[in-house]
């Protein structure tokens, strides 16, 4: 079974530029998550989708971050404009069911460096 796919794997941009990340979840997984992992910390949730609807975006900095999941499969996360503090690894995760025994599976992440 193919895992969660993410691209690009690495991205270097200058502050105030925009950037987009792409995620393809495991086939059939209805729930998709974007996490931000800053160096030395554990991942922190940015946004959660159930199919193509947003379940939780309370921790997404909406003035600069946006995400969408068209057709309930692939998802993109965008940052515009980027700040230095956005340097982090952006992880995508997916799960089969949003139930009491949900297990999330993670992709390889996109490492972003903002100069």
């Amino acid at each position: 079974e193919a895992g969660v796919a993410q691209s690009p794997r690495y991205k270097i941009i200058e502050k105030r530029q925009s950037v987009a990340f792409w995620c393809n979840p495991i086939s059939g997984h209805a729930t998709l998550y974007w996490y931000q992992q800053i160096l030395g910390q554990g991942p922190k949730l940015l946004i959660q989708f159930q199919n193509n609807g947003v379940v939780d975006d309370s921790q997404l900095p909406k003035d600069r971050f946006s995400a969408e999941r068209l057709k309930g499969v692939d998802s993109t996360l965008k940052i515009q404009p980027a700040k230095l503090e956005d340097s982090a690894v952006y992880l995508c995760a997916s799960s089969l069911f949003h139930d009491t025994q949900e297990t999330q599976y993670f992709g390889p992440g996109t490492r972003l460096l903002v100069l």
Binding site: G3, T31, Y33, Y35, G40, Q41, G42, P43, K44, L45, Q48, V55, D56, L91, A93, S95, H98, D99, T100, Q101, E102, T103, Q104, Y105, F106, G107, P108, G109
Partner: protein
């Protein structure tokens, strides 16, 4: 709000030594508990999980963890580590509510394990 504490930032062991990594969480309700591992250059992988039942859970590669509800703890153990266990280990928790999980995994800051050959 939920939080997860991993007390050890970096643990260094020799091969064949026993391992115990601490994890404590703060949440008064029912929780799902996870340990994820990230080997160098690889992505987060599920090591083991606890949903309910036997509080001693066994995972891959000889790892196990014990859920102690009274102590809000979910410590990871392995009787004899190998050099290949060198990795970063993350404890994570999500709250369970009637009808489903909260979904949002709360992670600890991680513990780096270095195993000397």
């Amino acid at each position: 709000a939920q939080s997860v504490s991993q007390h050890n930032h970096h643990v260094i062991l020799s091969e064949a030594a026993s391992l115990e990594l601490g994890c404590n969480y703060s949440y008064g309700g029912t929780v799902n508990l996870f340990w994820y591992v990230q080997y160098p250059g690889q992505h987060l992988q599920l090591l083991l999980k606890y949903f309910s039942g036997d509080p001693l859970v066994k995972g891959i590669k000889g790892f196990e963890a014990e859920f102690i509800k009274s102590k809000f703890s979910f410590n990871l153990r392995k009787p004899s580590v190998q050099w290949s266990d060198t990795a970063e280990y993350f404890c994570a928790v999500n709250a369970r509510h009637y009808g489903g999980s909260q979904g949002n995994l709360i992670f600890g800051k991680g513990t780096k394990l270095s195993v000397k050959p």
